[in-house]
Symmetry: C2
Subunit: 391 residues, 2 copies
Amino acid sequence: MSSLGYVTPQTMHFAEPLPLQSGAQLRDYMLMYETYGTLNADKSNAVLVCHALNASHHVAGEYEGTPKSTGWWDNMVGPGKSLDTDKFFVIGINNLGSCFGSTGPMHTNPATGKPYGAAFPVVTVEDWVSAQARLADKWGITQFAAVMGGSLGGMQALAWSIMYPDRLRHCVVIASTAKLSAQNIAFNDVARQAILSDPDYRGGDFYEYGVVPKNGLRVARMVGHITYLSDDDMAEKFGRKLRAVADDIAATGTYKFDFGVDFEIESYLRYQGDKFSEYFDANTYLLITKALDYFDPARHHGGDLSKTLAATRAKFFLASFTTDWRFSPECSQEIVKALIDNRRQVTYAEIDAPHGHDAFLLEDPRYLNLVRAYYDRVWNELNDINSKEAA
Amino acid sequence: MSSLGYVTPQTMHFAEPLPLQSGAQLRDYMLMYETYGTLNADKSNAVLVCHALNASHHVAGEYEGTPKSTGWWDNMVGPGKSLDTDKFFVIGINNLGSCFGSTGPMHTNPATGKPYGAAFPVVTVEDWVSAQARLADKWGITQFAAVMGGSLGGMQALAWSIMYPDRLRHCVVIASTAKLSAQNIAFNDVARQAILSDPDYRGGDFYEYGVVPKNGLRVARMVGHITYLSDDDMAEKFGRKLRAVADDIAATGTYKFDFGVDFEIESYLRYQGDKFSEYFDANTYLLITKALDYFDPARHHGGDLSKTLAATRAKFFLASFTTDWRFSPECSQEIVKALIDNRRQVTYAEIDAPHGHDAFLLEDPRYLNLVRAYYDRVWNELNDINSKEAA
């Protein structure tokens, strides 16, 4: 049971069109979110948590009557946890284009009366941040105590620090990067091609045909999943272990000489792919990989990240994980260096963890304690300001 | 133009059934091969070159009337080259299950009169070596001066040294491994799932339907190709370069905001995938990835590679490439260590090259000179023996 107990998602509707980086705009859209803790009187204790590829607004807590519905960062966010909901008012928000509630490709396109499908506009990290800022406006939150995220969520936090420098006191960027490498883009394109070439994708309009490009999604997830784990971790967890077959225990230790499952790693990956293909939307997957590929704030400054981050005003916490080969420590170091070039306050932790990119979601006391220590500082700083203002 | 000039492939038919590791057997099969240079009187100067995933018997030289038909290791094999065909009699052989001439899934299954398709038996590295040994028998070659290969070809050379310890004087293993890691298997399974789930695969019998599972093959190749290149090399060659569009030069430097090609790396990978899907056979791809996954000679010795290599009698040359993350230098080092445990003569070179796994096929003077020096030694040794025998 989550220490936060049961939580309930909420929605907010936006009538005013949102202009997007592509030149398109979204009108009549909805954002889904959850909040934990209480917003204080001067609205200074809000922390926005941005989600990564396959996550959502459901950051922490559980849904009543839904087993196994614990939020994706419940080990991080809650009463007494690293991001303490007894102190902070935490907002989890679902991004546009998602398949978990906010307006996305499966929703009705007001222009056609049919589901958007592939006509849903390509959205960027910056577009998401614009939408998040509007949500903050509605609450009257002019400055977040912190904006926080891991991986693609960390990109959103970083984009906040550039786009709205005065609207966040702290920027918490975990296992992230200022831009994808060619190899990252390559893996994303393999995933996209797997989906796009699945006949059941039907040019993105599969909803109308009552089909789902499961095979494509499954392959996309399998290849993605490999990049989330470390080689070492895979070696330790699976190695070359052959799959024990319940009804054929004697067969363990021999090869099957067909194209079924021989190795545990195959069984694990196919299971992950199958599960994913049953709940995730193919158009959302395409959109999110594009948002990842496109994120590169320095491209407006000739590739100079130091110049790009000159706009920032926040204080920064960054963390990376030694075995993360998707967004390696070098990616975080590049951001840290550019911040130091600008004399920004930066705390950076490189955590020796075996779990690859996925480490940012896992229970690691050293990591969680570091984040806790940082939020203690954020909290003390807020109280110092408040007591000065009161004095 | 290759310095070897024009070459001609040949075939050899085998009536006697070949027993396979799976328990199945292949009867009435054919092997395709090429030879370069001249077999000497005592048949001591033969070098067998084993091919990797998408290569064939066509190691060197060109085919008359076929432009761009240079063999895959033409920079290594030829008159005056590292493996000098003025000295050695070099045999390139195409493995069973291939789509380049030797009996494979697209050939007629004598049991049904229809193409084998997915009914072609799963073949292993050891099965290939058995077939290669029979070819050597037909020539009366009792001992190769060397058996050589890179990647999957290196596995065959290593298997030769274990299965037929007295039939090779030297074993040349480049950019290879004694077994695949969980991550290697995972990538192979992604490729297989892409093919198997393509509706045009039709359970492997696509030949009868006049279709080809191109989409699956294309994704399989894309993901494979990423693992052949190094992250650094990709970064240097492609980075985040946007694709220049001939008819829309002005668009360069901006994103397209759709799911077409934005980045050069996408264009390159899709092109590689498309090209591959036009000439490679889907069943062959499945078979070859299985042969890779299954190779693990130490599994018959409780995973102890030192015990496994105690059977060997050859001298060894191994080379690895620093940026090869498919079969990293550690994989070669593991073999070297096991050979040293058995006091075998080993020459090992770790070559600082930026090109990842593909480096073993590329023009790198340091690498090619090292191989040349090793073959000089093999040659001198042969001549010493011959002069002693003459004396």
